[in-house]
Point group: C3
Chain length 347, copies 3
């Protein structure tokens, strides 16, 4: 249960006319919020629903307050305000303090008293955990790896040897950081493995989803800067560099040695070739196929529109004839010009 006063304190805003003693149990979408729910309006198109709102309190923009039938709090960015208070309603109990007896901690590891280490977790030789680190059930911290203060690894996360995470990182279940990069030299009879001598360095406040893979570098380290957010199933290959505050949505795949600037966003399933440079403030739409350097900020896309399969098949066949079609049009233009001239001459 959250009291509106606490919420207002968290936001550092004026309470307006709302009663600071209002009790709220949870956050709910505007349409179904009841008297013990907090709601919010982030876009003008939802204002119609505000009339019938029965929420205990609504966060909205100052200019929308007049039509609001229930207590409200005004914020210039209601969505950001919702984000900031959402943690107050988190039902999740804090992880158990201390080290579960079934966890295995190498005696040479550095493990402060403030950690929470779940059943079956493993901290290998020389690893260093910061204050307040939480390791979920079965999480694995390799030899010499370092986790900054308040990092939380959910169950099954594997941090390889010598990987470094900054402070306040979250890594969701079964993500793997520091596996070998995909480096092999071709021999006549197979592949010669290239030892991946680099590691992975992750900045502060990096949030990483579930089943992500971030590989260790071949010679230098793979780098993920501060405040980067990474969704589930993303793959970041060896020696990539991801700039601050960039965001990678689900299933993005990035090949080796690509450098991404700051404040870039990658929608789902974007694929990025290796050895590219992407400047700051670039956005890629879903499934974009990035195979060249990007030097101008902006939004980039590739692919074809979704169509009924029957219709798509006809158009797709034509794609395979596109160069020929272009040349036919060029020929037509020439022929038509010649004819036009001939006719004009005749006149």
């Amino acid at each position: 249960m959250v009291i509106l006063g606490d919420l207002v304190a968290r936001l550092g805003c004026e309470p307006g006319s709302a009663d600071l003693a209002i009790e709220l149990d949870s956050i709910a979408p505007l349409g179904r919020a009841g008297s013990r729910d907090l709601a919010f309006v982030s876009e003008a198109r939802y204002l119609d629903a505000l009339e019938d709102c029965r929420a205990g309190c609504v966060i909205l923009k100052p200019e929308w307050q007049d039509g609001c039938p229930v207590p409200s709090i005004c914020m210039d960015d209601p969505y950001l305000a919702y984000a900031k208070v959402s943690g107050l309603f988190e039902p999740l109990a804090p992880p158990s303090a201390g080290i579960h007896p079934s966890a295995v901690i190498d005696p040479t590891a550095t493990v402060p008293d403030s950690v929470s280490i779940g059943p079956g977790a493993f901290v290998d030789a020389g690893a260093v955990l910061g204050e307040g680190v939480t390791l979920g059930h079965g999480a694995s911290v390799g030899r010499g790896a370092q986790l900054g203060a308040n990092c939380r690894l959910w169950p099954g996360v594997v941090i390889y040897h010598d990987v470094i995470l900054g402070d306040d990182c979250v890594v969701h279940a079964n993500t793997v950081i520091g596996a070998d990069g995909f480096g092999f030299a071709k021999r006549a009879d197979g592949w010669e493995k290239i030892s991946q001598l680099g590691s992975v360095r992750i900045g502060n406040r990096v949030d990483i989803g579930a089943s992500v893979t971030i590989d260790r570098g071949a010679l230098d380290d793979t780098l993920v800067a501060d405040d980067v957010i990474i969704d589930d199933q993303v793959h970041i290959a060896h020696n990539c560099v991801i700039g601050r505050r960039s965001a990678l949505a689900g299933c993005v795949g990035m090949a080796g040695s690509t450098e991404v600037g700051e404040d870039c966003t990658f929608a789902g399933q974007v694929g990025v070739s290796g050895h590219l440079k992407i400047c700051d403030n670039v956005h890629f739409t879903g499934q974009a196929r990035v195979i060249k350097n990007i030097r101008e900020p902006g939004s980039y896309s590739s692919g074809t529109p979704l169509e009924p399969t029957k219709q798509w098949r006809r158009n797709a066949v034509r794609f395979g004839q596109l160069d020929a079609l272009q040349r036919r049009v060029v020929k037509l233009e020439a022929k038509l010009s010649a004819l036009d001239e001939a006719v004009s001459d005749d006149d």
Copy 2:
């Protein structure tokens, strides 16, 4: 070893002329099936191979029975019949009964005697396991999560707190259900995490592959209805709703809040944007890029055909000039019409 009589009983069909005492050890493709193998013919194009068949018994359609040189069982849908009896030949021994001493079960969890819990598995506080639940080695069931009767989690599966699975679900190794959805609000200096207050609810008889991720909802729950089947490496983002009997093949990625109807099928690597509505009975072919609502049942596709890279490059360049080409054709048409008229006028 399976006796034909048991197989006929499982199918609830007429034995025909086949000897119910026939012993079968396994199921094999028609071409290599021997006298102790069961085979099946599901499509007419395989009938040629039937002539030389040496299987102990063949499942086929009634109209194909005449040409069959070995004992046969007639079923209208031989492929479905094969599926139904395939479990009889499963070599897998049942999991060990009881709770392995290395598993960790919180005393407040509800765990019936009929469960099988493997080494190193963990059942957190308040979790509820149904009758006959199987947890593989190292599987993790979070605080307050609920697994219906006969659910089977293979090794390394992570079920987050408060996630609910119905009865008879299968979840393959290292899949993660209930990790935080990818919800952040943009701040000037980074991202404000939005606590994911919803959970995930999975229906009955849902079959989920390995390394799948299904994220918990932001406010409401992410929902997967009864009888849905999900292949490996699929990603389902927060607040998606997947309708009954829909099937998602490998590596499908679905962004947040998309609602999928019943009986839809997604081929491999399909990517679906967020906040879409897909009606019932929609099929997407592989790698389709779904970025709009679908209101008509049917098959949908996107992408271009595979070509030799040299040829593809020429056509791909032309794609980038497609709008210009279209305008050139429009201009040609106008010019030609004008010329045509001029010539006609001349006549």
Copy 3:
């Protein structure tokens, strides 16, 4: 620390003029290599940087030796030479010998003294480990599975029952080998599960990344031949056959029963339909959509180029009109020919 003499011995090459006593600590890129670093030049375009090189030793082609200001070793393939010696600089300590007391080994499993088994790992009944096998923390070896000599499973790897790996395989963290293939027969009211009675057989010297899934076969086994290399997040469905020395980059997805020849390479996110045959020596560029058999070696691609989104949208719309455009051009050609003839006749 590596002495140049050891490095020369590993390569089996002539030391040239370099002092065999030179001490090297690591490998570094040409640009930042110092006096205790090894560097290499693999392509002529990097020769400019050689002039200012301060490395302790450089591996290069014989014809490049003259301009080199530091000690050098000549090899025809410097990149392969770098790969071969990279392991000498591996900082990773060998895994602890023996079986960690928290590991669970079924008494019917075959486990030689030479293995290294980490905390919480599990070897189920009847499984057979070869000499020198390493199992990381929490790795899982299912009933009757077999691992050849010197296989290394990193933490959290799950090997299902009866799966077979040859000698000298590496499997990175949280990869799953042998989960059920995605096999279901459609019933009126849902899906009938097809028991996956086959297994997975992996050859020798196969290198598999993190979070990979390779499913067990429906009737026959899924096969991965010797010397195949597989990057992170790859999905290989049931009954696929991957030929020797083929390489699959990150996030490749392959549907069931497809057979890939030898020496094929798949760039990232390539998607392959089921039941295809791909001949030897085929290369697919990133995100290629492979939906037909490939009978000719060579490079294949699909997709459209990356464009600014605004421009892309215009071209993408035109893609949906491509068949119509083609027909308009055909009509134009006919009309122009007719007009041309008419005009000529007039003359």
